[in-house]
Symmetry: C2
Subunit: 169 residues, 2 copies
């Protein structure tokens, strides 16, 4: 059984949360919905709630095979929480997969894991990714080691296919 954490905060992008969420369940991944606090109904941009099952500060990133970070403006909120930042950093350094899409690169930046790495993301945060030491590629999905990144919801088929394939390695 593979395990994954999927991160949540207010103003998350619906498609970038729910599409990987159900795709990974289909692939047999045991998912935990992780926010800054447990048991909070975080609201999407259009008001669709997702209730967190665990608080990041109570977990260690190395417990999971995979951490998925959806976009929207949620990553701007996630990076304010030390527990969320540490979860991503620890998972990365433990060799776990980190998959982020759209604005979610912001959290990867704050986790300090992008220096010298090839990534993509929403074009509005390209400067932030480059200033964090990453090489920005304008592609539907970019994989560099255990980092997997995509740009927008239109990239979700490539994003999901790459995550599922990487888990099967």
């Amino acid at each position: 059984m593979r395990t994954g954490a999927i991160l949540i905060e207010d103003l998350y992008n619906e498609l970038e949360f729910w599409v990987p969420y159900y795709r990974l369940l289909e692939a047999g991944v045991e998912l935990t919905i992780v926010g800054p606090k447990a048991g909070i109904a975080y609201q999407s941009k259009h008001g669709i709630p997702v209730t967190s099952q665990a608080a990041a500060r109570d977990l260690n990133g190395t417990e999971f095979d995979l951490v998925v970070i959806p976009g929207g403006y949620a990553p701007d909120r996630m990076r304010r929480d030390t527990g969320m930042v540490n979860l991503v950093r620890d998972a990365y350094h433990g060799g776990k997969l980190i998959a982020f899409i759209c604005h979610a690169g912001w959290l990867a930046i704050s986790a300090g894991i992008l220096q010298g790495k090839k990534v993509t993301g929403f074009f509005a945060i390209k400067d932030d990714l480059v200033n964090a030491g990453a090489e920005y590629l304008d592609q539907p999905v970019v994989r560099d080691g255990n980092l997997i990144s995509s740009r927008t919801p239109d990239d979700l088929p490539d994003f999901c296919r790459t995550i599922v394939s990487a888990l099967d390695e």
Copy 2:
């Protein structure tokens, strides 16, 4: 290349549209978003728009390998349009796959394709399914020949897996 029509109308359920939509694109299915009219931005229950690419009345259901019908209250609106009803009926009688979830059984009822068939759906429409001659099973996914049905968004992993598997036959 496999082809599919995914039907749309106002008040569609976001998860039941977008999760199969991106999952089928990932599987290499060429999808057409079909509504009663072409070029209309139909709104989800929470206000997420989907623009139709074609009008059902301009198509024949047998052009597609698969027709997917999302739920929400959209199916109550879809069944008012002769073109949408005929698309499903013609696809069914042409031996194409018909996949419906939640309240989408309403459109299958109006297409007259459920007599003697095993199906599932949201529990609120169980009586309608039974009155249309179907046998209702309370399961995450039910397949009977070229009919595939599920109950709620929680069933999406089973729903998607079964559709993709059926297309591969």
